[in-house]
Symmetry: C2
Subunit: 351 residues, 2 copies
């Protein structure tokens, strides 16, 4: 019998942050692809479009007028999934028909006044302003809400309906499913092993190097051992930091720098604007601000859909939806591909 | 304060089969959509294409030749994600770097010799043959494997790379994540409430009617109370049946009939071939065949991606991937839309 080779032999890997398994079948990359081919992202976004509701000076859906902002700009989502005052559905429910109240707010945050720029093409000082704004909104909304989810959908393939560089912030009075999972897994790990899960993990990955994509004095980016999306990455501080607002000025500058390097590599992979959904997971807020949250380590997940090229994505469909997540190359192969790429953005080279 | 109205006020609903919550924000359907528009499915598939590896008489990737089949046809997947003899990655792992062996087989099953037909356009007797083949493969692979996942990816939007009507069967020596969840939830429910979860649920939904899409003597299709995809449906037997092979001849005919009715309604919704991923969940097999599995009820999930039209899908992205699944219309609204549609396939009316 041949000896085990993760690139040739399918196996399961454990995701300790979600308490679930992913099927790694790297030999599947050999199959030809005859399925759907995506439209490549359009490269002709005008710098300023007075009809785009995210641009400085534009009129938005309900008549508000944006200021002539010249850095970041945050406003209330005009079509929020969460509103602060929804009535309670009551609590006397049959076990098969349970509902509960959901209250919250949804905000939109523009990264830059220009529509034709993305994070990896912004200056470190501009990215730093985005980071400061993220920290601010966690403090502001976290005072009232249990969970403040900062997330960015980038690219039409990820359901983003506006090319202007922006992210969203949805705060809620409940712990969402993914947050509850991360909470439970990190809590159990600290109890069992005496060290926060992601603090130990970052140290071990920094030592092994095999899955590291970029690193600096304060931060580390890896393709996690349990990655499900082909080029999924995990951004981790080296120091134990529960939430974004806890970052020092130096750590924030350092974060701006590593984000720029990671995202340039991502764009360089297929020489195109790389779509993804990303988001921050920090310790729960609201009433949890008073609790011991030492099991939590701040981190950001990047979930990009592309697999083979700028137009061929990984479909998480039948088997993945009904049975088990499955990936077609090993996390080590993905990390190596990303690591080898240059950090100068391909668009900068061409001009 | 206004009284609670599920169509106007966001709330959370509990999914007792997955022990998780879905955020229902029905008022979001009011927002305009300026995002990605999908290519509508192509309607010019030839009935027979000698270069299509799924057609009768075709040569497949590794040189095998398909028989001139005239009903269903099952063969080993030429690029399987699971193989029967992968070596074991060993078991002496650090808690953050755990892997385990995955062994199995992957098969492909053609529904019909023609490439230009889909299940709702097939005759009930032809669909019955598909059902018999499903039952057979559960018996055959279930003798050895713990879980036999039958699933169909339909439409390019769902990653299906071949228009020929077919499904897949992936059998594994492990319980996939989704199966493990359904196993635990159904086991706990029976213990707590003295009746199998989905047996009780089907009875209550049949009585309430509010979420019923189609029903007959033996089967019931509902948009479940906890549906995440806009037009997600759940197909349930009325009798307690743990696995597909346990169905009687009458129940199989009745299943063929209700599948045809459901899928015709689905196609009629946007007058186009309705994409989805679907799959069967029955009691685990292999060594579990000898165990008491009375908590399990056989069921099929249909997960269709469309939201507003044949070209506008629901994106399960940023918030959904990082925080919580979210839907933009209530399950009751979706059920009503589907219920009101005729059962004669729109293509049959036009010709
Ligand atoms: O096996 P297929 O149809 O080529 O591939 C499709 O279904 C598989 C199982 O759900 C997925 O892993 C693939 O991403 C998808 O493209
Ligand atoms: O709010 P947007 O960008 O219009 O919408 C996008 O992100 C939301 C949050 O992840 C999703 O619910 C939507 O399906 C998606 O299209």
């Amino acid at each position: 019998k041949p000896t085990f080779d993760p690139k040739e032999h399918q196996h399961l890997r454990y995701n300790p942050l979600r308490d679930s398994w992913v099927l790694v079948s790297a030999h599947r990359m050999k199959r030809p692809w005859k399925g759907q081919v995506e439209k490549p992202p359009e490269d002709n976004t005008p710098r300023h479009d007075p009809n785009n509701p995210l641009c400085p000076g534009s009129v938005r859906a309900h008549g508000e007028v944006n200021p002539e902002y010249d850095s970041t700009f945050m406003f209330d989502n005009d079509f929020p999934a969460l509103q602060p005052d929804a009535p309670d559905p009551g609590s006397d429910h049959h076990p098969l028909f349970q509902s509960k109240a959901a209250r919250g707010v949804c905000k939109v945050m523009c990264f830059h006044p220009w529509s034709d720029i993305t994070l990896p093409l912004m200056q470190p000082a501009e990215i730093r302003k985005v980071i400061d704004k993220w920290a601010e909104v966690i403090v502001e909304l976290g005072a009232e809400y249990t969970w403040v989810q900062i997330f960015e959908n980038k690219g039409a393939m990820m359901g983003c309906s506006n090319p202007h560089p922006h992210c969203q912030v949805w705060a809620s009075n409940f712990l969402p499913n993914e947050a509850a999972l991360a909470e439970r897994c990190q809590r159990d790990f600290l109890q069992k092993h005496g060290e926060p899960l992601l603090v130990q993990y970052a140290r071990m990955e920094a030592q092994a190097q095999e899955r590291v994509v970029v690193e600096n004095e304060h931060w580390l980016v890896v393709v996690p051992y349990w990655a499900t999306w082909p080029f999924q990455t995990l951004l981790l501080p080296r120091r134990h930091v529960p939430r974004l607002p806890d970052l020092t000025a130096q750590e924030r500058d350092s974060l701006a720098s590593i984000m720029k390097r990671l995202l340039a590599k991502n764009d360089n992979l297929f020489e195109d604007s790389f779509p993804y959904s990303m988001g921050w997971h920090g310790a729960p807020t609201g009433s949890h601000l008073q609790e011991d949250m030492s099991h939590w380590q701040l981190h950001a997940h990047y979930y990009p859909p592309l697999l083979r090229s700028a137009t061929i994505r990984k479909f998480m469909v039948g088997y993945e939806m009904l049975a088990n997540e499955q990936r077609d190359l090993t996390p080590e192969q993905a990390a190596e591909q990303l690591r080898k790429l240059g950090e100068e953005h391909y668009k900068m080279k061409k001009t």
